[in-house]
Amino acid sequence: MLHSGQLYKSVQFSTNIYIGDPLIAVKIFNEKLAEELSIVDIDPCKYGSEIQFELLEQIAGECFMPLSYGGGIKTVEDVRKILYSGFEKVVLNSIVFKNQEVVRQMVDEFGSSTIVVSIDYKTINGMKQVFVDGGKTNTNIELMDYLQTVKSLQVGEIILKAIDLDGTMSGMDLETIQKVSSAIQVPVIANGGVGHLNDISAGFSAGASAVGVSSLFVFKGPLKAVLINYPDPQVTKQVRNRSHVIV
């Protein structure tokens, strides 16, 4: 996740822990053979700043694996520029709530496989509610209702994020993952709460096509020192082909 051009890991979408220079991190992921990398810039989402096309081009130039980008995408032209800078997919979030017509145009122009929708939700009084603007704004729409709208847009992939669990490493919201994956046909990438390799397997069993793992890959030991790595290589072998690295 980018903030002020630097790489951070969030906790519950608010506290941000500095990880390092994104270009150096990308080189580490090259070495670690990450099979896909997703980059999210929170500044355009939260503070409305511009998409940093130049930085994205630099990152893509250093990357030897497929890439996706999310953060502040509003127009068909934004998507075109990002794809031409060397990214394979774009991740949409707030725009899906604000302007479904433009999302339809993006799908028409670039194909379903290129367009990913990220849905952030929080549990409020037992209800799963969808949040946009980097977790700042409550849409007051229930997750499953929102999902129906997203389904009609024919996007290629859904990233599901439990804000409450982000960065907590306390286990995934399996019930919601199960409900969401059975409601739609496109792949669901579940995020939030992975603290253990068992959580990844549990996410897959609940129906996720991929599990976003972040803290587990960037922090090491009880004091959470920053060290970008896969956990024990022997154990990760079984999950690595299916787990995305999302920082």
């Binding site: 053979l33 030897f64 497929p66 031409y84």
Partner: protein
Amino acid sequence: MIGIIDYGCGNVGSVQNMFSKIGIWSEKIAKPENLTDYSGIVLPGVGAFDTGARRLKSTGFWDALKQFVEVDQKPILGICLGMQLFFEGSDEGSEAGFGWLPGNVQKFSASESLRIPHMSWNAVDFKSPRYTDLTANNFYFVHAYHAPANLDPMYVLGTTLYGEMFPSAVEHNNITGFQFHPEKSLVYGMELLKRWNLIHLEK
């Protein structure tokens, strides 16, 4: 020195960085002058067939590449759209390709269960012993069109299965083309580029 053609059809940074990572000298070329100074050329590219063909013509690369490949007989590697432009044409557009390989680039036949574009890691079944001993044959694909399925086997370097079997790597003397992206395929892509370099430039 390898020249990577930068004609405004996609980011060529990762191609160049991958070459430098495996210790092979390369540089981006934005102008067609002095093309003959290079020992080999890489033609990358993403996007529509017609856009690619027109850009090559408007930048002057078209004629320079014909000279390089047809007259000088020096090695060229096409990646994705770059490879597609080696054919006579494409069902995607109306512009002519270089015609170094026979037939038209075609669209995946539509089917309910098949997602187009084909966008994933997939296996390449290499037909030539010069490529069959690579450590891994999985590469990253992003495309909606592919080389003609009925391409004469003498030009087929490798095939991939996605709903149907299609040529994902092609070869004809000094001309090599990959539909997938070695520059997005981690160390497996590096090994492959190294091999292409070994076969065509260190012979």
